[in-house]
Symmetry: C2
Subunit: 381 residues, 2 copies
């Protein structure tokens, strides 16, 4: 195998593929990156067996030549130092050549690296996803959906199913839900007609996979194709394949967690609330739970406070736009609230409480976006 | 005590003073920051007993009012959360008030923090530096001197004296030397007439102190006053006092380490050499010692190479501007060389070797700056 390729293009692909390669893998060949070259393209593959990423560099695209020379072939190269080596090469063109003994030589200008390779025939065959279950979504919208839900997955393996985001497609509506059992994030969007015949209910994608996917995808308006099978999901753009395993097990029914009635409703500027809670929580960080208190006051005001016996107390009164219903004192994790407000990303929000010991929900005041965040309070009063 | 003060000004002072406060201190009162207010100024003090920093905020300066209200007094406030609190306050003005029970209230807009304070009478009396030994130097020049030498101090406590930078003032010449016994950095400057009567030989300032000082000082052309006594050194600008203890013991005589004759001399572009060594050392980082080899070749070329049995090899030929003297193969720590080249910061440098097993020296080709870097090679051939 031999290729002469543009460094910047190669660097971009390597960085994407590296996201699937774990330095801690117990399968030696998976510490490497597979390079395959043919007359049309160069394909890079990385995998940690949970996630597999393939990045394709076409020989030429939009009149720009990416690959200047090619002798077809394939090889597996040590991934650990590859990004650093490529990034620091002196010239814009890179030559990569593999000899019959699996020695891989990388040349650029007068710099020459020889890396030990591995046999590409030993690289695991990637599962081919057999499915008719495909739909498309705009890439930047998918990124938003992930951002608005993925932070709420559980980081504990006590209930492994909760470490993933639940995808549900039904009646032309796509819903994502994540919960760690202390808080829940949900976002729905209406899908276009193409999904008519398609529906699935128990697709749970590992939060880690979605996090890596989100880092790789650009904020583009191009479509991304999503295909699901029983145990895998494939995200596919023009030059990228991102394959993740799905989590086993049934995702819990979450709709019944969301209270239908509220006793106290507060409408408030989201940014002001976020900054106030951020300040109050400064001292609360000394506690394990980062707890702040919210108390309704007269004249549509709320007081946010926290205290840490060893350090001191913080309190601040915030004017809201409207408070209706019963008086309330409630305590919650400040980080959960800040995460929820960031995810909603609206100017004004409404919070619906059903008493000091019941979960409360936060939604944008403007109901255009179907996003809902739920937080379980903490008992302190 | 009560002050109403500009937040930005206060923030700047707090950040500077925090550099002296260690969260790991075993003396509880030193985990706090002392605030003293009088009609003219507010003074903040922090100390870890090795370094003491005082920052002064004048009531008014250049027609700008920094302190809007003051009731004189002093207090010691918990330092841990102070920078975060001040940074996140909602308004440009901050009110700080201490009551008779050492409760400190910080107010800005509607935000209010109450922090537990400590008795300022328990704060250690700072030693008053009694000395006539003072001289001045331009602040940005002092920063350069520190940058060019401080990286070479030892990080091991085996020979504590080597963890500091040796300052020597003699015959109107100031010299800084640092060495960890594997490499040495030295910089000299001519001083102006004012130092005529002044000379000192065994001033060794902890590298950590100089590192912190360098972070606090601006790249300004204003003078900084340096005063030395037997066991302390004071750096003083208009609004800052930076006091450091000195290291005990005699600094070794280093001048005899520097070879007077060379057998091979290489003149080369500094940036090209740095990049070549940086690349070659990518694979060497897998070794403990980060070793690269340098070998003189025909036609004024040198070859830089490294190898790591498990990963592979790197090599690159670099054209120099001139090679004179004997042929040479030598191995050294790549990081030492890169540190030295960065410190010299010249376009073209000359390296003088005295054989593969003797220390070699690197100097700028243009002899305007009296800077010298010495590196001890590693035995591999």
């Amino acid at each position: 195998m031999k290729i002469v390729i543009n460094r910047d293009q190669l660097m971009q692909s390597i960085q994407n593929v590296m996201r699937a390669i774990s330095p801690k893998t117990t399968i030696p060949i998976l510490s490497g990156m597979k390079l395959e070259a043919n007359e049309e393209e160069v394909k890079l593959t990385g995998s940690d067996s949970d996630i597999t990423i393939e990045s394709i560099i076409p020989k030429e695209e939009d009149g720009i030549v990416h690959i200047h020379e090619v002798i077809p072939g394939k090889v597996v190269v040590q991934a650990k130092f590859l990004p650093d080596i490529i990034k620091k090469l002196p010239e814009d063109l890179v030559e990569i050549e593999a000899d019959g003994e699996l020695n891989i030589t990388i040349r650029s200008g007068k710099a020459e690296f020889t890396l030990n390779g591995q046999d590409p025939e030993e690289y695991p065959q990637l599962p081919v996803l057999q499915t008719e279950n495909s739909f498309q979504i705009q890439t930047d919208l998918l990124k938003t959906l992930i951002r608005q839900t993925n932070f709420a997955v559980s980081t504990s393996e006590t209930r492994p199913i909760l470490t993933g985001v639940h995808f549900k497609l039904e009646n032309d509506q796509l819903e994502l839900v994540a919960t760690d059992s202390h808080r829940l994030a949900s976002r729905k969007i209406a899908m276009n007609e193409e999904t008519d015949s398609l529906s699935f209910k128990n697709i749970v994608i590992p939060g880690k996979s979605l996090g890596e996917l989100n880092k790789i995808l650009d904020d583009s308006q191009d479509s991304i194709q999503i295909s699901v099978s029983d145990n895998q999901i494939l995200f596919r753009t023009k030059h990228l394949f991102f394959l993740s395993r799905l989590l086993d097990g049934n995702y819990p029914e979450t709709s019944r967690l969301i209270p239908e009635q509220s006793k106290t409703e507060v409408k408030v500027d989201s940014k002001e609330l976020m900054q106030t809670i951020d300040r109050a929580s400064l001292l609360a960080k000394d506690n394990r739970n980062n707890i702040v208190k919210l108390e309704t006051k007269e004249n549509n005001a709320i007081e946010i406070s926290s205290n840490s016996p060893e350090i001191g107390t913080a309190e601040e009164v915030l004017n809201t736009n409207e408070i209706s219903g019963e008086e309330l004192k409630i305590s919650f994790n400040a980080k959960y609230m800040i995460d929820a407000l960031r995810a909603i990303d609206a100017e004004e929000i409404k919070i619906q409480f059903t008493g000091a010991m019941r979960p409360f929900i936060i939604e944008p005041l403007d109901e255009g976006e179907q996003i809902l965040q739920l937080i379980t309070p903490v008992r302190t009063y």
